[in-house]
């Protein structure tokens, strides 16, 4: 008879954040294993608490489903002799499987006929299959971070301490690990309730609930949500709780019971970011607002029943008060001085031994920010300088040392306390954006400049001291910094050439860097840009190679420093590549590029031109060059490509009629130098010869 299967893996408290993935694995891996073992069922349900991962498989068949296996024998051609009698090959094959030749079938395989034995696979009882299938399932579950705890050889997210396995009302006996941890029908209730001996799968959830374990996380989720909603309605407050916090509560309790506490009103003098961070970081408590004010209520979830509510509430309140007292101490100490006064403390703080103090870093950020703002023609230079001056000061405050996640935020708050302009205060918080992939960009324009300057400085410093990322090693996190910076430039369309900027300001880094490491910075940034263009902007490899290619022009690498323009070129190419004449332009340019590769002289004399075709190309070159110069300045790269397409005919005719590599040395040099100039014109977009074209069309 079909029956339900229950597997419960009993584990010491698992990290809340890992549980959803572990549940998912139990579900999908069980489904695969059951299918592979020909066991059919109605559906699988996975449940969990911090101490258990449970699988219920409903209406599981009692025996493996029917399956016939085909065993291939000798080809018919060698299985029978001329008189159609079986040969030794045929009888040998049959007897080795305990059959007669007459039991075999003939089947065509790959154009040849073979003797084939069809044999029904044995149908094992489910209870037998499970004894090996379930241990395999258990050890196949992979934790994000696993551990060892004894000599069992097992590795898991936390120690596995018990296993329950029932099929219908029978125990499926098996063990896992070298120490032989055995399955049984004994599970455990809540830590302070009783153990349970199960007699059937049906009673699993109900018996656990009696012992204060709500084994279905969905039900705990509803319980938590209901409790929050009840507080909101009763007290007229709104919770500040994100999904992550709710999930944490659900997956860190077996029986969540809401406990509403209150902290003394005096703490409302603290900024709300400080209160909510303190309560979140230290106890995963939910905080509330009441209208536009912060509420003194906070909500915690006890892992246990309603009883002794008052004791737990008093405990929570004491713990919260002690922590807020701590934050109050930090705030009072920090505001004994203005934020600007803290800036001077940065002199004593080493940013990096080989580079210098944070004070010096701030000085560099001020210089960089000022230059970026000027080149970007921003009006508010004084505010930018003020924000840059203050941007790292909160790092020496006690609050940020306690809660690093508040860096920038405290800078903003302390700037306001000191009466700084609102835009300056906000920029201090914004400098760290984007903090991770997909994070919001800075909102105010001072913040944009500050963020750019800070990230650029970090990247240059790290590479200068040889800490360029390799493989998974990136001690200063500069990949993330560089990615954030590039995103900012591309999305905010900041028309600035970073490489030129760094070269112009090279005295800033004179003491820590040399030309070689500066080249390293350019290379590193180009590599990051390449990755972003490919993976986030979806440009194809050939387009990216084209726009990032260096020409042989002196200082050509510097042209690669304006990331915003590079993206604009890429977009123009994507638009142009389907337009009339583009493919033949690529082919035409390839001829120019091939013949001039490595040629560096650009001096030529138009008077020496003889052929009509080279004179024509020269005239067209002159016309196009003027337009392209103007269009490039206007960032109209579609227009540039249009003029290049116009040169296609003259180039083709030139190569058809004019022999560049002539024996006449003067003519040859003159023509090569001219073509090099022509190639330079194309490099306003990039190396078009790298673009893949369909030569059949």
């Amino acid at each position: 008879m079909n029956a339900d299967l229950l597997l419960e893996i009993g584990i010491e408290e698992m990290p809340a954040a890992e549980i959803p993935d572990l549940m998912q694995q139990v579900h999908s891996k069980a489904a695969v294993l059951l299918k592979d073992h020909r066991l059919v069922y109605d559906r699988i349900k996975v449940l969990s608490t911090p101490r258990r991962l449970s699988l219920i498989c409903y209406n599981l068949s009692e025996i493996q489903s029917v399956m016939t296996e085909e065993i291939k024998g000798p080809p018919v051609a060698v299985a029978f002799d001329a008189h159609n009698n079986p040969t030794a090959a045929a009888t040998g094959f049959a007897t080795s499987h305990g059959k007669r030749v007459s039991d075999l079938l003939r089947q065509k395989m790959g154009g040849k006929e073979y003797l084939v034995l069809h044999r029904a696979l044995p149908q094992l009882a489910t209870s037998v299959v499970l004894t090996s299938l379930l241990p395999e399932l258990i050890v196949s579950i992979r934790a994000g971070k696993s551990m060892r705890w004894d000599s069992s050889g097992l590795e898991f997210v936390r120690p596995i301490r018990w296993i329950v396995c029932l099929y219908g009302n029978a125990i499926i006996p098996f063990t896992v690990g070298r120490d032989g941890l055995a399955s049984s029908n004994c599970t455990r209730g809540h830590r302070f309730a009783n153990d349970i001996k199960l007699s059937s799968v049906d009673e699993y959830e109900a018996r656990l609930a009696e012992q204060l374990v709500i084994v279905d996380p969905q039900m705990r989720y509803q319980r938590v949500q209901k409790a929050i909603a009840a507080v909101e309605e009763r007290e007229g407050v709104t919770s500040i709780a994100n999904d992550e916090l709710i999930a944490h509560i659900v997956h860190s309790t077996e029986y969540p019971t809401a406990i509403l506490g209150k902290f003394p009103v005096e703490f409302l003098s603290l900024p709300r970011e400080v209160i909510s961070t303190t309560l979140y970081e230290e106890g995963k408590f939910i905080t509330f607002t009441c209208g536009d004010k912060f509420s003194t209520y906070f909500l915690g979830f006890r892992n246990g029943p309603e009883e002794s509510y008052g004791i737990v509430k008093a405990g929570y309140e004491r713990a919260v008060q002690a922590r807020l007292r701590d934050s109050q101490f930090f705030f009072a100490e920090d505001t004994k001085r203005t934020l600007a006064e803290w800036t001077y403390q940065l002199r004593a703080v080493i940013y990096e031994e080989r580079i210098g103090s944070l004070w010096e870093k701030v000085a560099r950020i001020r210089r960089l920010a000022g230059e970026i703002a000027q080149r970007n023609k921003q009006p508010n230079l004084d505010d930018i300088d003020r924000a840059a001056f203050l941007c790292k000061s909160d790092l020496v405050t006690k609050m940020v040392r306690e809660f690093p996640v508040l860096q920038g935020t405290m800078g903003k708050i302390y700037a306001r306390c000191a009466g700084e302009k609102e835009s300056v205060a906000c920029a201090i918080e914004d400098q760290y954006r984007p903090r991770f992939k997909g994070d919001a960009l800075p909102v105010n324009e001072i913040g944009v400049v500050l963020s750019l300057a800070d990230k650029l400085d970090t990247v240059v410093c790290a590479i200068s001291i040889g800490e360029e990322p390799t493989g998974s090693r990136d001690p200063y996190g500069i990949r993330r910094q560089a990615n954030g910076m590039i995103r900012l430039i591309l999305e905010q369309e900041i028309d600035i050439n970073l490489f030129v900027l760094l070269t112009d300001l090279n005295e800033l880094y004179a003491s820590i860097t040399d030309q070689r490491s500066l080249d390293g910075v350019l290379r590193f940034l180009s590599d990051r840009l390449e990755q972003i263009l490919l993976h986030e902007y979806g440009l194809t490899y050939d387009v990216v190679n084209c726009i990032l290619a260096e020409s042989n022009m002196a200082g050509s690498v510097m042209n690669q420093g304006n990331f915003y323009r590079i993206l604009a070129k890429g977009k123009a190419l994507v638009n142009a590549r389907n337009s009339e004449g583009f493919d033949s332009l690529v082919i035409a340019f390839a001829r120019v590029r091939n013949i001039t590769k490595g040629y560096k002289t650009r001096q030529f004399d138009p008077q020496l031109f003889i052929e009509a075709e080279e004179k024509e190309l020269w005239r067209e070159y002159l016309k196009a060059a003027g337009q392209i110069k103007r269009l490039t300045e206007e960032k109209d790269y579609c227009g540039v490509i249009g003029y290049l397409i116009g040169l296609r005919g003259p180039i083709d005719r030139f190569f058809d009629k004019v022999l560049v590599m002539t024996d006449d040395k003067t003519q040859r040099s003159n023509r090569l130098a001219f073509l090099t100039n022509l190639s330079d014109l194309f490099f306003n977009i990039g190396d078009l010869s790298t673009i893949t074209v369909d030569t059949n069309s």
């Binding site: 551990m147 060892r148 120690p159 002794s308 929570y316 990096e352």
Partner: protein
């Protein structure tokens, strides 16, 4: 229950479970884990059961004696069990019952906290034990010590004695605790907290301490090379404390912290390697 009685009760509890009772180390430590009994004891392949009190100095945690629970020096009760018994969570909980808690009346959570000591090149997996929202114990299955993967695995229980005493005695403030019948925590420790906070935060000479750090680092390296592992480890401990002191002075940035940590980690890793070689020779 008086503060000293908590220690006595835990001593008796763990002695009955086969722990030998040892003493705090005489070099400043930031936690019981730094005590050589734990550092070298967990590296060894031999079984170990030990319990001791460790006064733990954390200069940045000082609050001039003005905070109800924060102290620059607090007391840890440290237990190491190797191999880790399968019932260890229950054993730990019964130790709490033994010192007087009725656990079912409270909210007790094993909250994920993968402990790490970068200076000891040590890492473990485990929890903070939250008792009505207050952290009272660090519970860790060590996976690595001194950069060496451990086998067998030790479990470490670190009770925060002051916090436990606050809960047991029903006080709001650590300084109101009764150490014994006659003496309060305030009488014993308040003035020390005040003075050390002023010193740690305001007056410790950054320049001199950097020099002492460098000297201790050299002393450690020089002796480790000679195979004098234990003296070398003492100087690594001193470096660790001096680094904490520099940190409390706000004299090092996030980036520079890493460099100091790397320097100390090098010392402790060398000591661990030396110790393993020594044990290898014995066998």
């Amino acid at each position: 229950m008086y503060f000293e009685d908590i220690v006595l009760t835990l001593h008796s509890f763990w002695q009955r479970r086969g722990c030998m009772l040892t003493h705090p180390y005489d070099v400043e430590t930031g936690a019981g884990t730094f005590n050589p009994v734990t550092f070298f004891g967990t590296l060894s392949v031999k079984p170990l059961r030990v319990a001791y009190v460790e006064p733990s100095r954390r200069p940045t945690d000082g609050r001039y004696g003005n905070n109800p629970i924060r102290l620059h020096l607090h007391h840890q009760y440290q237990v190491i069990l190797k191999p880790a018994p399968a019932q260890i969570q229950d054993i730990y909980l019964s130790s709490l019952e033994e010192i007087g808690f009725t656990l079912a009346e409270h909210d007790l959570k094993f909250t994920e906290d993968d402990w790490e000591s970068p200076t000891l090149a040590a890492a473990g997996v485990g929890w903070q034990i939250w008792f009505d929202g207050m952290e009272i114990t660090q519970f860790t299955y060590f996976q690595q010590m001194g950069g060496i993967s451990l086998d067998p695995i030790s479990v470490e229980l670190t009770y925060g004695l002051e916090r436990i005493a606050i809960l047991l005695q029903g006080k709001e403030n650590v300084f109101d605790l009764k150490w014994n019948k006659e003496t309060t925590y305030r009488e014993l420790w308040w003035e020390k907290e005040r003075q050390f906070s002023i010193y740690n935060f305001e007056h410790a000479s950054v320049e001199r301490i950097q020099k002492i750090f460098a000297a201790c680092e050299e002393e450690s390296q020089a002796n480790c090379v000679r195979g004098l592992i234990f003296p070398a480890y003492d100087y690594a401990l001193k470096c660790s404390h001096l680094f904490n002191l520099l940190d409390s002075r706000g004299a090092i940035s996030v980036t520079e912290r890493e460099r100091y940590i790397t320097r100390i980690r090098k010392l402790t890793k060398d000591c661990a390697k030396g110790y393993m070689a020594m044990e290898e020779d014995e066998r």
